[in-house]
C-alpha cells in the first residue's frame, strides 16, 4: 500500500533551487531515510510534504488523496505529523499540555461547550490526560508531566517531541534529524524505539538523518539528495557502494 506518493516536486527560493524534481514512494509500515550532505534540501522536502511551503511544481498524494495544495494544518489532520531539526516545543505549556495540543485535531467538543465546560469537555479532557500519561510512560517520562520543556535535558526534549508527534495517532511520521545531538548510546536507544514504535503503532516513518548508524540499522529504503536532486535510491547496502553517493559525500577522486 502506498502511503505517500510524490512525483517530481520542485521548490525554488528566489534563484536558489532547493529541491528539483524529487520523487518518492513510501510504503506502509516501512522506515525510509532521506540523506545527503548539508544544504542538500532534505528539510525542504519535509516542509513541502507538510505544507509549510507550497510546491512550485509536482504533485503529492497521501493514501490516494491529493495533498499538493492542502494547507499545513489540514495535512496534520489527515495523519502526517513531524518533529523538527531544532526542537520546537511550546515553552509556555508544560509537558502534559504540549502533548494535549498535539491531540487537538481529535477533540469532538465545540468552543461553546468549552465556554460552559459541559460534561463532554470534562470527559474528553480526562481521556486526553490518560492518553498523554500513557505516552509519557511509554517513553519513561512520567515524572516530568508538570515540568516545563525548557527545564528538561536535551535528550528528553527530543523524546518529548517524538511523543508529541505520536499523540494524534498519525499514519505517517516525519522525523527531522532525530539523532542530532545524541550520544552513541542514546542513538542505539532511539533505533530501538523507532523500530518498536513502527511495529506497535503500525506506522510508516521517513527520517532525515546524518547518523549513518541510525540510517543503516533501521531503514529499508534510502533516498540520497545532493544540491536538491535525487542522486540515488535503494537499500542501505546498495547505497553504501554507490559511486555517486560516495562522490557527493567525499568529493571527487584526485
Amino acid at each position: 500500500m502506498e502511503v505517500l506518493k510524490i512525483t517530481d516536486i520542485s521548490k525554488n527560493f528566489g534563484g536558489v533551487a532547493a529541491v528539483t524534481g524529487f520523487s518518492m514512494i513510501q510504503r506502509e509500515n516501512e522506515i525510509t531515510a532521506i540523506i545527503g550532505p548539508n544544504g542538500a534540501g532534505k528539510t525542504t522536502v519535509f516542509n513541502l510534504i507538510t505544507g509549510v511551503y507550497p510546491v512550485d511544481l509536482g504533485r503529492m498524494w497521501f493514501y490516494g488523496t491529493e495533498i499538493t495544495r492542502t494547507p499545513a494544518h489540514a495535512i496534520t489532520a489527515l495523519g502526517i505529523t513531524r518533529t523538527f531539526q531544532n526542537i520546537r516545543l511550546f515553552r509556555n505549556l508544560n509537558v502534559l499540555d504540549n502533548l494535549k495540543v498535539a491531540f487537538g485535531v481529535k477533540f469532538r467538543y465545540t468552543v461553546w461547550e468549552e465556554m460552559a465546560r459541559l460534561s463532554r469537555v470534562r470527559r474528553e479532557e480526562r481521556e486526553v490526560v490518560d492518553l498523554a500519561k500513557s505516552y509519557l510512560a511509554y517513553f519513561g517520562m512520567e515524572k516530568y508531566a508538570t515540568y516545563f520543556p525548557y527545564n528538561l535535558p536535551y535528550g528528553l526534549q527530543r523524546r518529548l517531541e517524538l511523543a508529541r508527534a505520536l499523540m494524534p495517532a498519525p499514519k505517517l511520521l516525519l522525523l527531522d534529524e532525530p539523532g542530532a545531538g545524541l550520544n552513541p548510546r542514546e542513538i542505539r536507544e532511539l533505533i530501538g524505539t523507532l523500530l518498536k514504535v513502527k511495529e506497535e503503532k503500525k506506522l510508516s516513518i521517513i527520517v532525515v538523518e546524518h547518523h549513518m548508524e541510525l540510517v543503516m540499522n533501521s531503514c529499508t529504503t534510502l533516498h540520497v539528495l545532493d544540491f536538491g536532486k535525487k542522486i540515488a535510491e535503494g537499500r542501505p547496502e546498495e547505497i553504501k557502494k554507490n559511486e555517486q553517493v560516495l562522490q557527493a559525500y567525499l568529493g571527487d577522486e584526485v
Binding site: 507538510t50 509549510v52 494547507p71 499545513a72 494544518h73 489540514a74 496534520t76 489532520a77 505529523t81 513531524r82 523538527f84 520546537r88 516545543l89 511550546f90 515553552r91 509556555n92 505549556l93 499540555d97 494535549k100 495540543v101 498535539a102 487537538g104 485535531v105 477533540f107 467538543y109 468552543v111 468549552e114 465556554m115 460552559a116 465546560r117 469537555v121 479532557e125 508529541r164 494524534p168
Partner: protein, 283 residues
C-alpha cells in the same frame, strides 16, 4: 462611602476591558492597540440606540455587542494576516480612526461635545456579575483546547500550524470574542459614567490594558484581574500625586519587566480548589 463605591465601579468596569485584552494579548500574543476603538464603538452604539432610537436597555447592550462582533470580524479579516508590529500598527490605526469618525459624524454622535444625559442604569452588581461570567468563560477556555491552542500560537506559530491548528481561523475567533467583550465593557461604561465623548478611550488607554496584562503575567488570569484592580483603584486614590502617577507606573513596570519577566503572578492561578484548601488551613 459613595466615593469608594464609585472607585470600585470604575475599577471593575476597566477590569472587563482588561479581560478582553488578556484574551487577545496575554493568551494569544496579538498586540492590539485598537481595543479603545471597540470600547468607544460599544459605548456609542448603546448610548445612541438608547437616547435617539429609544430602544429598550437590554437591546441596546445586545446591539453594542453585536456590532463589536461584526466590526471585529471585518477588521480581523485583513489584519490577522499580519504579524507582530504590522498588526499593532493597523489596529492602532483602527482605534484612531474610530475616534476621528466619532468626532466628525457630529449629527449622530454629537461630535466633540459627546453624548450627555445617559441615565445610570448599570450598578455595581451588574458589573461584578459580568466580570464573574467573563472570567469563568475565559478560564474555561484557557484550560481546554481553545486556550492551549492560543498559547501554542503565541509560542510558535509554525509548530502550532503543524499540530493541526488553523492559526488564522483561531486568531479570528480570539479577535471576535475579545472585540465582543470589549464592546460590552464599553456599553456598560456609557450607562455607568453617564457621559461619553470621542477621546474617552485613545490608544494610550489601549496600551495600558496591554501593560496591565503583562505586569500581571500573561499566563495568569488572576494576575490580570488583580493588577487591573490595583492599578485602576490606585489611580483614583493617588490623584494628588498628579502627573507623577504615570511616572510611578512606569517605574513599577520597569521593575517588574527587569526582575520578574514572566509577570508578577507567573503561571499561578487562583482556582476554587486552592481557595477551599487555603480556608481549611486557616480554620
Amino acid at each position: 462611602m459613595e466615593f469608594y463605591l464609585k472607585v470600585l465601579e470604575i475599577t471593575c468596569l476597566y477590569t472587563i476591558l482588561v479581560l478582553g485584552a488578556y484574551l487577545m494579548t496575554g493568551l494569544t500574543g496579538l498586540f492590539s492597540l485598537g481595543q479603545g476603538g471597540f470600547v468607544s464603538l460599544g459605548a456609542y452604539t448603546a448610548a445612541i440606540a438608547f437616547l435617539k432610537f429609544h430602544l429598550p436597555f437590554p437591546v441596546c447592550i445586545a446591539l453594542a455587542v453585536g456590532l463589536g462582533l461584526v466590526v471585529g470580524f471585518v477588521i480581523g479579516l485583513p489584519t490577522l494576516r499580519l504579524h507582530r508590529d504590522y498588526f499593532l500598527l493597523v489596529t492602532f490605526g483602527f482605534g484612531e480612526m474610530v475616534r476621528a469618525a466619532l468626532l466628525h459624524l457630529a449629527q449622530l454622535t454629537g461630535g466633540g461635545l459627546g453624548v450627555a444625559g445617559i441615565p445610570k442604569l448599570v450598578g455595581l452588581p451588574t458589573i461584578i456579575l459580568s466580570i464573574v461570567v467573563i472570567t469563568l468563560i475565559i478560564a474555561n477556555l484557557k484550560r481546554s483546547r481553545f486556550g492551549r491552542d492560543c498559547i501554542a500560537i503565541r509560542d510558535d506559530e509554525l509548530a502550532a500550524t503543524l499540530m493541526g491548528i488553523p492559526v488564522y481561523r483561531h486568531k479570528m475567533k480570539v479577535f471576535i470574542l475579545s472585540s465582543a467583550i470589549t464592546s460590552y465593557g464599553g456599553a456598560l461604561y456609557a450607562f455607568v459614567i453617564m457621559f461619553i465623548e470621542p477621546n474617552l478611550f485613545n490608544w494610550l488607554e489601549s496600551a495600558k490594558l496591554i501593560i496591565i496584562t503583562f505586569v500581571g503575567g500573561i499566563n495568569s488570569i488572576t494576575g490580570a484581574i488583580v493588577t487591573s484592580v490595583v492599578y485602576y483603584s490606585f489611580g483614583e486614590f493617588f490623584r494628588f500625586v498628579d502627573v507623577w502617577r504615570d511616572v510611578l507606573l512606569a517605574i513599577a513596570v520597569l521593575l517588574v519587566t527587569i526582575f520578574r519577566s514572566q509577570g508578577i503572578f507567573g503561571n499561578w492561578e487562583l482556582t476554587p480548589g486552592k481557595l477551599l484548601f487555603w480556608r481549611r488551613k486557616a480554620v
